[in-house]
């Protein structure tokens, strides 16, 4: 196991003002007894609502925060005690925080990181060249970081985290705020990185396609506890996540109540637009479209995938 977490718990003291002078002191457990392991080469999606304890767990894995109780081992090390040793073996990207030097050209940040990791030039330059080529960073390599777009900066952040060829890559919301093209480029790069080097990846995200493209396994946390541990089909099967086909008809039609394998969720504009929900196990989008167009004339259609938040919310409704 490259990551071993046993009965991990982290409490915070929350002070609140109650009245003019009095303050109350509450102990809140952000992570409340989490146990899991990650095998080398796995890619695990760590998901949950905001405030579910994701960031707190990641901080404990990377040595920024001490657990209140329980144990953490990463690469066989104790993160807080062996922080600088661990830092040479893992790479971390925080999507909303930068680890690059904002006033220096991107290239200089990489040079500095090479020096900080005490890597010989021969070790990091080929790696950088590879990332620059795959992530198409050449055009903005000499631009100061503060002038980069979010997508460009994020490619720089991921490269920065991989420069020292870490065994474990931790990505906290790596695709947040990116446009579709940037997201897809980053996912393709990470898929390749895993295939070529067998890097273990731990990823938090709100984006279902991230999980579909990248993760073998999902851990869902809620209120500081692991609520689900398994793969995506398993999760969808368990909560019965529905995809929704939205069809626009050429002219107002009757409610489509008897399409096989679907449930009619909503009818708008006198039947001009209808929402049909279905499960992946029951039927396919193609079959539903075929069945609908056999009955009425279709003008437009769209398939809505279940959002991660919906899947997770359903998990708790059980």
């Amino acid at each position: 196991m490259i990551v071993e977490v046993t009965d991990l718990r982290r409490e915070f003291v929350v002070r609140r003002r109650a009245g003019r002078l009095r303050r109350t002191r509450d102990v809140v457990a952000a992570v409340d007894g989490v146990t899991f392991g990650i095998a080398p080469g796995e890619c695990v999606g760590y998901i949950g609502a905001n405030g579910a304890g994701k960031s707190t767990t990641i901080k404990m894995l990377t040595g920024i925060l001490v657990p209140t109780s329980g144990t953490v081992r990463v690469c066989g090390l104790e993160p807080v005690r062996d922080r600088t040793t661990l830092a040479r073996r893992i790479g971390v990207v925080f999507g909303q925080r930068s680890q690059l030097w904002w006033d220096l050209p991107l290239r200089d940040s990489f040079r500095l990181l090479g020096a900080i990791h005490r890597l010989p030039t021969s070790a990091w330059e080929p790696r950088l060249a590879e990332c620059v080529q795959l992530l198409e960073m050449e055009p903005f390599l000499d631009t100061p970081v503060r002038q980069l777009s979010l997508g460009q900066r994020m490619r720089g952040e991921v490269t920065a985290a991989l420069l020292h060829s870490p065994e474990l890559l931790v990505l906290d919301e790596p695709t947040i705020g990116l446009d579709l093209l940037s997201k897809e480029r980053l996912r393709a790069f990470l898929v390749r990185e895993r295939a070529e080097r067998g890097t273990t990846v731990l990823l938090t995200t709100h984006d279902l396609p991230d999980i579909e493209r990248l993760c073998d396994r999902i851990l869902v946390v809620d209120h500081g506890r692991v609520a689900f541990d398994g793969d995506l089909p398993g999760l969808v099967a368990r909560v019965g996540a529905e995809r929704v086909l939205v069809v626009d008809l050429a002219e107002p039609g009757p409610p489509l109540i008897d399409v096989p394998g679907t449930t009619l969720r909503a009818v708008e504009a006198d039947g001009l637009r209808q929402h049909l929900a279905f499960r992946k196990e029951d039927t396919t989008a193609a079959a539903v479209v075929a069945a609908v167009s056999a009955r009425v004339e279709l003008r437009d259609l769209a398939v809505h995938e279940p959002a991660i938040e919906d899947v997770v919310r359903r998990l708790y409704l059980e």
């Binding site: 925080f94 925080r97 680890q99 990181l113 005490r118």
Partner: protein, 269 residues
């Protein structure tokens, strides 16, 4: 720990900071100039004092000017190399400090090398000028030991103020907006170390000798240069003790830093 590659890493960090400043030449020149002026204006205060009287606490203008010069150079050195550590609360809030912790270097080392305020050369330079002129005017019986003391004292002063900067910046780990507290010890220490200590009350004198060792920056070494004993009764060997005081201060600051860091990562509370 301090092997050659680590030194290279810090070297690269500092060089990148210097390069970033050099790219804003015009604003750098103005800031350098205001640092020179800062010393002049501070020194006007000493000048005004000696416009009214011939001696302060039994020391004449040239002697107090020596204290002022030693303090200005020592504080300027500390301010240039570590003065920016008071940005710690900002780094904590923006997550930059977490990025420090994710790199295989000491967090304190990265905080200290996160900037290098070259403009303080203005303060150091004008401090040296004041010091040299004052030494020429003061009645010093030069010996090799005293010559060595004059050279070593500003460096020891830099280490002492550097230690005060580091120790007090850890306030930023504990309270969100209390960073100004640090000014009482950093800038306050610099203010007071430019004057003879026997004009201060017992508590202030002891506090800024044994807790915040500002007395070792200028006042005590000046006594040694002049061959005088402390009117307030400190033993004579203390006047020669700026270097050991600086080493003790640095060790204490390192310990206080580790306490603060432990609090930050949640182990201390």
């Amino acid at each position: 720990m301090a092997d050659a590659t680590t030194a290279q890493a810090y070297n690269a960090l500092v060089r990148s900071r210097v390069a970033a400043q050099a790219s804003y030449r015009a604003s750098f020149a103005i800031e350098l100039g205001s640092q020179v002026l800062l010393v002049l204006i501070e020194f006007v205060e000493v000048y005004v004092v000696f416009h009214q009287v011939d001696a302060l606490g039994g020391f004449d203008f040239a002697e107090v000017a020596v204290m002022y010069g030693l303090s200005a150079v020592g504080f300027g050195l500390a301010d240039m190399v570590v003065g920016h550590v008071d940005r710690l609360p900002f780094y904590v809030r923006t997550g930059t400090f977490d990025a420090f912790l994710l790199r295989p270097l000491s967090a304190l080392g990265q905080l200290v090398t996160s900037d290098f305020s070259l403009r303080r050369l203005g303060r150091i330079g004008s401090g040296v000028v004041v010091l040299v002129i004052a030494l020429a005017g003061a009645d010093v019986d030069w010996t090799p030991a005293r010559a060595l003391l004059v050279v070593v004292t500003p460096l020891a002063g830099g280490v002492i103020f550097g230690a005060v900067f580091v120790a007090t910046c850890t306030i930023g780990f504990h309270v969100v907006e209390g960073m100004e507290f640090a000014n009482a010890f950093t800038y306050g220490g610099n203010y007071l170390s430019s004057f003879p200590f026997n004009i201060f009350g017992t508590f202030i004198r002891r506090f800024f000798t044994f807790v915040v060792p500002a007395a070792f920056v200028a006042y005590l070494p000046t006594l040694a240069l002049l061959g005088r004993s402390d009117p307030a009764g400190l033993p004579g060997w203390l006047s020669w003790s700026a270097v050991p005081a600086a080493l003790i201060a640095a060790a204490a600051a390192g310990w206080i830093w580790r306490l603060g860091l432990r609090h930050y990562v949640g182990a201390g509370s």
